[in-house]
């Protein structure tokens, strides 16, 4: 059905030629090909004829999105669109780089993150993508696990399938996967908007961190999953698997194994956020939902509270408390924590600070500005190295203020204050 043979050449709106090279994959609405686009290898999504309910409108929407441009470089955004050929068409987007794998393969345990920090990085990057899209005035219409390509070594995320992205107030008429859709959409009460996207975001984050679906537990595991069931479980009677007030849909041992094991490991504030995101009120359409910026804060905190024990195991810690490894049972010596903004960052080797910690009114979680290092001569002594171009001013009990520029190290001692500039002052507190 409307397959393109390799070697086929099609003209685009901008007057360029696209030459079909290989088939890369197939989705519900079309086939994705690797193509030569004016000498550059790109991807072409080619729609099945008859599959789009309103192809004319869809075509115009993609044209608008091309004109608007991608929100950030994390989007594999449409860059050109073909002319109509035999009643259908396609659009050109960048190819997925080799280092990126499918999110769905992660869910199937065929891909694995390098470590806990890269896992949380991926969560941060997904939130970041949502924020950028919303700021650009768009929202998703049909979000699902097929939308994300992930670099499992770094946590970088690429967002694809941006043909269904629409400006606020528009509706593509595309029916999505109910597992990812806000219940009010499944119930037919609403069309997609920013609030329903925020629900989908919570689902994706839960899947990423707990590797089970938040609404799939013992009450939603029938022998035969019918369409009526799907409407009930994801629409009219959704119940969170960790709802503290209603345990009827709790996970089943041996089936929802990931969530059962992981839920108790995560810090309280993360669990609370999901309990809130999937509370009975939220599932029944109460707004506002958890904001992207709130997820960012929670996840920045979470990433900062992961450390690796000497035995190799990574654990979530409370930086203000004595820590025992869950794996080897040993005490982990964390001499101090750094209190800045609302964060407590453990002073522990390999921990980094980012602009979101050291710059006022900043939520950049990608640019490192400081790292904790161990003294070569004295392994018991730690320092914080300035990785930024801003000079810090460090003051102790004597009240003297010492400048520390790029690559200079602050020797950690309880009671020290670090002025990162703009009156943003951090304090080192001994544990």
């Amino acid at each position: 059905m409307s397959e393109l043979q390799s070697g086929r050449v099609i003209k685009t709106q901008s007057g360029k030629d696209v030459k079909v090279l290989d088939k890369l994959g197939e989705g519900g609405q079309g086939i994705v090909y690797k193509v030569d686009y004016g000498g550059k290898q790109m991807a072409l999504k080619w729609y099945f004829r008859h599959k789009l309910k309103n192809p004319g409108k869809f075509y115009e929407n993609i044209k608008n999105n091309i004109a608007h441009g991608r929100p950030t470089e994390a989007f594999l955004w449409p860059e050109d669109i073909t002319e109509w050929v035999d009643n259908t068409f396609g659009y050109i987007m960048p190819l997925r780089p080799r280092e990126y794998g499918d999110f769905s393969k992660y869910l199937l345990a065929k891909e694995k993150f390098k470590n806990g920090r890269t896992l949380v990085n991926a969560a941060l990057n997904i939130v970041d993508g949502f924020t950028a899209l919303h700021r650009a005035g768009f929202n998703y219409q049909d979000l699902n696990d097929g939308n994300f390509f992930v670099n499992f070594d770094t946590g970088d995320v690429l967002i694809c399938d941006n043909d269904n992205v629409m400006g606020h107030g528009h509706n593509s008429g595309i029916a999505g996967k109910p597992r990812y859709m806000a219940p009010e959409i499944v119930r037919g009460e609403k069309t997609p908007d920013k609030q329903t996207d925020r629900y989908s975001l919570a689902v994706v984050l839960f899947l990423l961190l707990f590797v089970n679906h938040p609404l799939e537990g013992r009450a939603t595991n029938p022998a035969c999953m019918t369409e009526e069931h799907e409407k009930k479980y994801y629409g009219t009677e959704p119940i969170f698997i960790f709802d503290p007030d209603n345990t009827s849909n709790s996970p089943i041992r041996g089936i929802h194994q990931n969530a059962m094991v992981k839920w108790p490991i995560f810090p309280q504030y993360i669990r609370e956020a999901f309990v809130n995101a999937f509370s009975n009120e939220q599932l029944h359409g109460k707004n506002p939902r958890i904001l992207d910026s709130d997820w960012l804060k929670l996840l920045i905190r979470l990433r900062g509270e992961i450390i690796a024990c000497g035995c190799g195991r990574e654990i979530f810690i409370d930086p203000t408390q004595p820590v025992t490894c869950r794996n080897c049972g040993k005490q982990i010596a964390i001499p101090a924590h750094l209190r800045v903004k609302k964060f407590n960052v453990p002073v522990y080797p390999t921990v980094k600070l980012f602009s979101c910690h050291t710059v006022d009114c900043n939520d950049d979680f990608k640019t490192p500005t400081a790292e904790v290092i161990v003294s070569k001569n004295n392994p018991g002594s730690m320092g914080i190295r300035n990785l930024s171009d801003t000079t810090w001013y460090v003051s102790g009990a004597d009240g003297k203020s010492v400048p520390k520029g790029r690559d200079e190290v602050v020797k950690v001692a309880s009671g020290l204050k670090i002025d990162f500039g703009d009156n943003l002052v951090a304090e080192i507190i001994g544990n």
């Binding site: 199937l108 597992r179 959409i185 999953m225 799907e230 089936i255 992981k262």
Partner: protein, 244 residues
């Protein structure tokens, strides 16, 4: 368990049932086309299953001629692990027995006993003749089966001797029966039906559509109709030997 160790997320199973007429009249190019088309479509089903976090696709095969026999007697096999062995044709057309055997296995005590549950199956019947046994009794029984009722049912009538009336009775409507007249179209149809029926059936329901919530069966019939239109043009041109 470390922070990054996981087991696969539970997914539903979707069984694609091939119900293949292997009566004597199928001998030659017909059964040959069926064999090669199914063999070629299995890698596509495997791909569909491989990266699909919603559903795993499994295959079950029932052949019928003089009596009906499961080629997957131990239950449906993952598309990843399924190896197609060519089947031969001889004997009569005991569709009734096929219905009874299918009914027996469409049960949580039979082939539908997944711990994580199943989507309604897709059932694909191929035949080139008219039943030689008392098919009514078998089919009536099968029609009471809850799994069968929910299934996507589709049928390919091979040549004009196929009893498309009976096939329509099986699938529930004449729209879900396609008649083909040559090897090329038969192969195309088998591939299309296997892949698209599995896709439609194994994806979660399409809900929340502003254009009315269609069931999977009717969504599939829409696709089938479009495909019929598309293939009609190319089908009878140069499709190899024609079957009456």
């Amino acid at each position: 368990m470390s922070l990054t160790d996981n087991v696969a997320i539970p997914r539903k199973t979707m069984v694609l049932f091939f119900v293949v007429d292997t009566s004597g009249s199928m001998e030659g190019s017909k059964i040959g086309a069926v064999n090669s088309a199914i063999e070629e479509v299995i890698p596509e089903l495997k791909n569909l299953s491989d990266a699909n976090a919603d559903a795993q696709i499994k295959i079950a095969v029932l052949e019928f001629s003089s009596g009906a026999r499961w080629l997957t007697p131990n239950g449906p096999v993952e598309a990843e692990n399924y190896v197609w062995r060519d089947i031969d044709a001889s004997g009569v057309t005991d569709l009734g027995d096929a219905c009874l055997k299918l009914n027996e296995k469409l049960s949580t005590k039979g082939f539908m006993q997944e711990a994580t549950g199943s989507f309604a199956p897709a059932i694909f019947l191929m035949s080139d003749g008219a039943p030689t046994d008392d098919y009514k009794t078998g089919l009536d029984k099968l029609k009471q089966n809850a799994w069968f009722k929910k299934a996507i049912k589709v049928s390919v009538a091979i040549g004009d001797d196929a009893d498309s009336g009976v096939l329509s009775e099986f699938t529930g409507s004449s729209e879900s029966v396609v008649t083909v007249h040559n090897v090329a179209t038969l192969k195309k149809m088998i591939k299309f039906v296997s892949v698209r029926a599995s896709e439609v059936s194994s994806k979660n329901a399409n809900v929340g559509s502003t254009e009315g919530g269609d069931s999977k069966q009717s969504a599939f019939i829409d696709e089938l109709n479009n495909f019929k239109v598309e293939t009609a043009a190319s089908a009878d041109a140069g499709g190899g030997d024609e079957w009456a």
